[in-house]
């Protein structure tokens, strides 16, 4: 098998919704790629369809037109092969299951894991996200940040080659968010999973992403795909360097042009 060039490749994707009152174009003619093993952040104001785009890649929404290729397959096939993990805005844990049981959910549904899966141990994954010792806790006993860690561990079960994250740290306080950003970089480096990450925070987009895809709203269009010129090893202190501030300012200027 030839090595994959792109983890995700979207060409001319358009998504239209018909609601009871009117038809809405959420995305118009969006094309972008995520290199294999890459980390792409989707940045844009609310209403730019970034969550919709993520759901198109996850085969939760079928585009009205355009093609989507995920790991060299159709989005549907990638989903059926358990090639993707999804982390939602709220952790979406099942409150009647312990942290460990929540992480183990993918083992119990949809035919379980594929035979050649990596990361098959829920316990090890909880350790990877820094939650050793919390296995038997229920979601309501965990803090918001811890719940998102459990959700990340659950998404990583089976070792998906693509991780889709929909503003997973949006509801967390800044300190927790910073720490999780740092850890996500570490998890990305350790697991080698490609990540597509939605955010509306300029700092988060620049700090996390190897590349940033800037989107404009109403309807969602690609403004530019920017390569973030930062070292692979990143600490939080990096965000105070002039170079980082410059990158963030450039991204904000791009957003400023598209948001009135």
């Amino acid at each position: 098998m030839a090595p994959l060039e792109h983890a995700v490749s979207c060409q001319n994707v358009t998504v239209r919704f018909v609601t009871e009152e009117r038809a809405v174009t959420a995305l118009e003619d969006v094309s972008f790629t995520v290199p294999a093993g890459g980390f792409l952040t989707l940045l844009g104001p609310s209403g730019c369809g970034k969550s919709t785009l993520l759901r198109v890649v996850a085969d939760l929404i079928t585009p009205s037109s355009g093609t989507v290729e995920v790991l060299g397959k159709t989005a549907e096939q990638a989903r059926l092969d358990r090639s993707l993990g999804f982390v939602f805005q709220d952790a979406a844990l099942l409150p009647w299951r312990t942290a460990l049981e929540n992480v183990a959910l993918p083992l119990e549904v949809g035919g379980g894991l594929k035979p050649d899966s990596r990361f098959t141990s829920p316990r090890d994954l909880l350790a990877l996200v820094g939650l050793s010792g919390w296995e038997q806790s229920y979601p309501h006993q965990l803090s918001g940040g811890m719940r998102q860690r459990v959700a990340i561990a659950r998404a990583l079960l089976g070792g998906p080659r693509l991780l889709l994250m929909d503003e997973p740290f949006g509801a967390l306080d800044e300190m927790t968010r910073d720490r999780l950003n740092e850890e996500l970089r570490r998890i990305w480096a350790e697991t080698g999973t490609s990540i597509l990450f939605v955010t509306h925070s300029v700092y988060e987009a620049a700090y996390l992403g190897e590349q940033v895809l800037v989107l404009s709203p109403n309807p969602g269009r690609v403004v530019q795909q920017v390569t973030v010129d930062l070292p692979r090893e990143r600490s939080l202190a990096l965000r105070d360097t002039p170079h980082f501030v410059e990158i963030a300012a450039a991204l904000r200027a791009m957003l400023g042009k598209v948001t009135p």
């Binding site: 759901r55 996850a58 085969d59 939760l60 989903r79 059926l80 358990r82 993707l84 993990g85 999804f86 939602f88 805005q89 709220d90 979406a92 099942l94 409150p95 009647w96 959910l105 993918p106 119990e108 549904v109 949809g110 035919g111 229920y138 979601p139 309501h140």
Partner: protein, 280 residues
């Protein structure tokens, strides 16, 4: 007896424990108060009742004294028990039947939206007919045995459980539903792993209502046509102006209804022990 080995540590400990003792004592007092107050309340109402009957010289065919009711409960316990048993069977059978039907139909509704759209209004219309109006229809249809009473008890349980169960099954977190789709879960897995456990708190709050309404249903059924049962005994005692027996029967009936409710609450606690209730 504890001996202090390390004076500083022990003083720190005793300082803490004095506070804690005071707290524990205050809490115990509050707890005792919570227990005693309702008992005092009930006792004072009974006393007032006895006093009113005595001073106003209320004749026994209008209202009995509490002592008379107590004596009747004791002396006619055989008669009361014989009449309680059919009511118990009818309400429990009706409870099981009505709730089971509601759970099954709610499951069908959630999976087949068309059926819900077509038949939910029908269910609402049937529910708007008062029980006392439904009862004679069912007696005509099902005869004079236990069947119409079971049917009435079942009908009365059915609606609240159906509504709550549909809500419980449908109100799952949309992101959890998306998660299930990302995991390619089957409809069956979505139901058993997500919808059903999510609906349990909703189901149990309906079951607790049903536990008391099922007994009402059975008693109302017995009013219409029956010679045995709490409902029948209420009618007989009323027509015989045997107020003591009437009150005793009512007490027996409500004791049963209360125990039924408590049993369901206990089951709820066992079933939802580990779950954070949606409102908590």
């Amino acid at each position: 007896m504890s001996q202090s080995v390390n004076p500083s540590a022990s003083s720190a400990l005793s300082g803490l424990s004095a506070d804690e003792m005071a707290f524990a004592q205050a809490r115990q007092k509050a707890r005792l108060r919570r227990r005693i107050m309702p008992v005092l309340g009930v006792a004072s109402v009974l006393l007032l009742w006895a006093a009113l009957v005595y001073w106003l010289k209320v004749p026994p065919f209008i209202a009995p004294s509490p002592q008379m009711v107590a004596v009747t409960l004791w002396e006619k316990s055989g008669l009361l028990w014989t009449n309680l048993v059919p009511t118990m069977i009818e309400s429990v059978a009706g409870f099981l039947l009505g709730n089971l039907a509601a759970i099954v139909i709610a499951t069908v509704f959630v999976h087949k939206k068309t059926l819900e759209e077509a038949f939910f209004p029908v269910v609402v219309v049937i529910n708007t007919i008062p029980v006392v109006a439904k009862a004679p229809i069912l007696v005509l249809l099902l005869g004079n045995g236990m069947e119409p009473k079971i049917a009435i008890a079942a009908l009365i349980c059915f609606f609240p459980t159906l509504v709550n169960m549909v809500r419980g099954l449908e109100s799952v977190n949309p992101q959890a539903m998306e998660l299930m789709r990302v995991l390619s879960a089957s409809k069956r897995e979505v139901f058993f792993k997500l919808r059903l456990p999510h609906s349990l708190p909703y189901l149990f709050s309906a079951l607790k209502i049903a536990a008391s309404t099922a007994v009402i249903g059975a008693i109302v059924g017995e009013w219409i046509g029956s010679t045995l049962g709490i409902g029948a005994l209420i009618i007989q005692a009323t027509y015989a102006f045997d107020s003591a027996l009437l009150y005793a029967t009512v007490i027996v009936g409500s004791c049963f209804s209360m125990s039924f409710f408590l049993l369901i609450s206990l089951l709820e606690r066992l079933a939802l022990r580990q779950t954070a209730l949606p409102n908590s």
